[in-house]
């Protein structure tokens, strides 16, 4: 599904290398988790994969479904099936959440040469999906993320994911800021999408989320690299002992 090889990334503005050779493969149908200390480059990896400006790839490659991701515009990557649930979802005053989502869904359909979703059909689908995430009609009408609480923003990300039905989902700390119940809702939203054809990359600091979204593989990222890969037990180890042991072991 997603294949990253020896990815080196620097900031465009300053000559600072953030990713220092990331190797990572996420197979279709699998959930991979990434954990790692603050500042290790997890969000940077997610941004680079989704096509944000400001980064320079100095070496390596990232392929998705056989296509060269790094060669595509951000919107092309989305249409090809990539989705990033942002660590910090962006507020867009003046653009209604509903308008935003319908434009997004139909832009992707258009790019794939599919028929656009009618307003009526869209309304029906979004209402049903919003309900399962406990997002009320008012939140759909309001400008994108404006005045949303931290948890509401995160649920809104999952709603977008549910509407867009991407094949490769990256979730960047979607659990942070969520209360216990919201965490369950979000996890259910993710689990509902789990299937053979879909891959997940879940970035998190906490085992809690992984209790609900059971990962197949856990990676530890440190200083711009994947330094250790293991099964679900690796997350438990981090939860109990922190990163010190692991970092010492690979140093």
């Amino acid at each position: 599904m997603l294949e990253i090889k020896n990815l080196h990334v620097s900031l465009e503005e300053e000559d600072k290398e953030i990713l220092k050779g990331v190797d990572l493969t996420v197979e279709a149908g699998k959930v991979h988790a990434i954990m790692g200390p603050n500042g290790s480059g997890k969000s940077t990896l997610s941004y680079v994969l989704s096509g944000k400006d400001g980064y320079e790839v100095t070496a390596g490659e990232a392929m998705m479904g056989g296509e060269d991701l790094l060669d595509m515009e951000a919107e092309e990557r989305a249409a090809a099936g990539l989705f990033l649930a942002f660590q910090y979802p962006v507020e867009i005053p003046g653009v209604g959440n509903m308008t935003f989502l319908r434009t997004a869904v139909n832009s992707q359909r258009k790019a794939r040469g599919e028929e656009e979703m009618s307003a009526a059909e869209f309304l029906k689908v979004i209402r049903a999906k919003a309900k399962t995430l406990k997002i009320d009609a008012d939140m759909l009408k309001r400008p994108v993320n404006v005045g949303f609480s931290g948890g509401e923003k995160k649920r809104n990300e999952i709603l977008q994911m549910a509407m867009l039905e991407p094949t490769m989902c990256i979730l960047d700390e979607t659990d942070s800021g969520l209360d216990v119940d919201a965490m369950k809702l979000v996890a259910e939203g993710v689990n509902a999408l789990r299937d053979e054809g879909r891959g997940f990359l879940v970035i998190t600091h906490y085992q809690r989320l992984l209790d609900h979204i059971k990962p197949d593989v856990v990676h530890i990222m440190a200083n711009g690299r994947i330094v250790k890969t293991g099964g679900p037990e690796l997350a438990l180890e981090v939860e109990q002992n922190g990163y010190a042991d692991i970092l010492a072991e690979v140093a």
């Binding site: 989704s50 096509g51 944000k52 400006d53 515009e73 951000a74 919107e75 990557r77 989305a78 249409a79 989705f83 990033l84 942002f86 979802p89 962006v90 507020e91 867009i92 005053p93 003046g94 653009v95 308008t99 935003f100 989502l101 434009t103 997004a104 869904v105 832009s107 992707q108 790019a111 400008p143 994108v144 977008q160 867009l164």
Partner: protein
């Protein structure tokens, strides 16, 4: 050696070939007085403080610079609205294209008819509001219009008019130099919605004096024509009575030069005046210079004024805003708000703003803000990461930016009409 030609002074050159239209004695007096004001002031030049950001020379030169006709290929705006339509072709009233003047609650006449009567209500409005509006800032182009405009309509509203009146300004001649002067009186507790649209002429001078009596309402929605090379200098002079309402919105897309002046004089307590504008300029399709110049005087208590002006500029387009709120000593409890913002889509475009507050009363709330910004890159990326291509994503953000101005249009269906036009325009200009 041939004697050098004496150089005509600019005013004489501009007035050559013009003559004061004929009318009743009071009408001639009003026009001669306007000519007197104009002669005393002279024509504006770039050296004048009030014209610092906008060069008036193409507005003051003798003869209109050519403006190519532009077919938008769209159905005319407001065509679907149930309205009374009055059509002007290159500034000349066209009865055949217009609806009949019969409408309950309103008297409509051509200005030439109104001004031929010895006794007429227009005497208290024509040139009167304009003359008041010459202080403290001179507006010579308005005086020129009052003196020489031979076309326009006089509208007196006595009831709640069932449908809007729509002035449609067609442009058919590439060098037309049009002058229109409308006078409108909305009597006590009466209500009118006025729509205006179209490019009007190669060079268009339009003045509108609107007298709003106690408890009356005047709503105004205007879309200036999209002919790229057209020039326009427009004035609205309005006077508000007690509890009266004035709400005006203008959409401007394209036009090599537009100067819209509004002079709003709040005389009665508890009155409300809102004026808003949305302008979009793309220098790639022709030069674009748009200037909103507003002067609001609060001379009564418990009144509210609100200015919301938004400009989206790209490819070397220029936007100007000069807005002043003057609060007189007795205008206590004034609530004045002024917002002027521009969104620059590139580094070539320019926005110049001169917001001013002059307050002599102590118990007032006045605020003003003026900002110039670029597109929000974070928001743009967020949209693109959801699959919206850069062009449409930019359009969404542009519409979001303009929303606050467009929301000033109270009537929902008119608001939708204006929005639909904007979306169409953006689609053609999207990056």
């Amino acid at each position: 050696m041939a004697a050098p030609q004496p150089k005509l002074d600019p005013l004489a050159a501009r007035l050559e070939g013009l003559s004061l239209p004929k009318g009743a004695a009071w009408a001639t007096d009003a026009r001669e007085a306007a000519l007197g004001r104009l002669t005393a002031m002279g024509l504006p030049t770039k050296r004048d403080e009030y014209w610092k950001y906008t060069d008036p020379s193409s507005l003051t030169q003798a003869g209109a610079p050519k403006a190519t006709l532009f077919d938008t290929g769209e159905a005319p705006l407001f065509d679907a609205v149930d309205r009374l339509k009055l059509v002007f072709v290159d500034g000349v009233f066209d009865a055949a294209l217009s609806d009949s003047f019969d409408l309950e609650g309103v008297e409509i006449e051509q200005i030439s008819d109104a001004m031929s009567h010895d006794i007429h209500w227009a005497k208290d409005v024509y040139g009167v509001l304009e003359a008041d509006g010459q202080n403290p800032v001179e507006r010579p182009l308005a005086a020129l219009n009052t003196a020489f405009a031979a076309e326009g309509v006089a509208i007196r509203v006595t009831g709640d008019v069932s449908k809007p009146i729509n002035f449609v300004y067609l442009h058919r001649n590439e060098t037309s130099d049009a002058m229109l002067h409308h006078v409108i009186r909305v009597e006590k507790d009466a209500k009118l919605t006025l729509l205006e649209n179209g490019p009007a002429a190669a060079r268009f001078s339009k003045s509108m004096e609107v007298d709003i009596a106690d408890g009356a309402e005047f709503h105004h929605v205007r879309a200036q024509g999209r002919d790229h090379e057209r020039r326009a200098s427009t004035h609205i002079f309005t006077r508000l009575g007690e509890r009266s309402v004035f709400k005006s919105f203008t959409l401007t897309v394209n036009g090599v030069l537009t100067r819209n002046e509004a002079v709003i004089d709040i005389r009665g307590d508890n009155a409300v005046a809102h004026i808003a504008g949305a302008a979009l300029g793309d220098g790639a399709t022709g030069d674009f210079h748009h200037d909103d110049t507003v002067f609001i005087t609060h001379d009564a208590q418990h009144c509210e004024s609100r200015q919301v002006f938004k400009k989206v500029l790209r490819n070397g387009a220029t936007g100007v805003f000069q807005g002043k709120i003057l609060v007189k000593p007795d205008a206590q409890k004034t609530d004045g708000y002024q917002l002027s913002q521009s969104l620059l889509l590139d580094d070539d475009s320019i926005f110049q703003a001169k917001p001013e507050l002059e307050i002599y009363a102590d118990d007032v709330v006045c605020s003003h803000g003026s900002t110039t910004g670029a597109i929000d890159e974070e928001a743009l990326f967020y949209l693109r990461s959801r699959g919206v291509p850069e062009g449409p994503a930019t359009d969404l953000l542009v519409l979001a930016f303009l929303a606050e101005a467009i929301d000033e249009i109270e009537d929902e269906s008119l608001r939708e009409d204006i929005l639909a036009r904007l979306e169409g325009w953006l689609e053609r200009h999207g990056s």
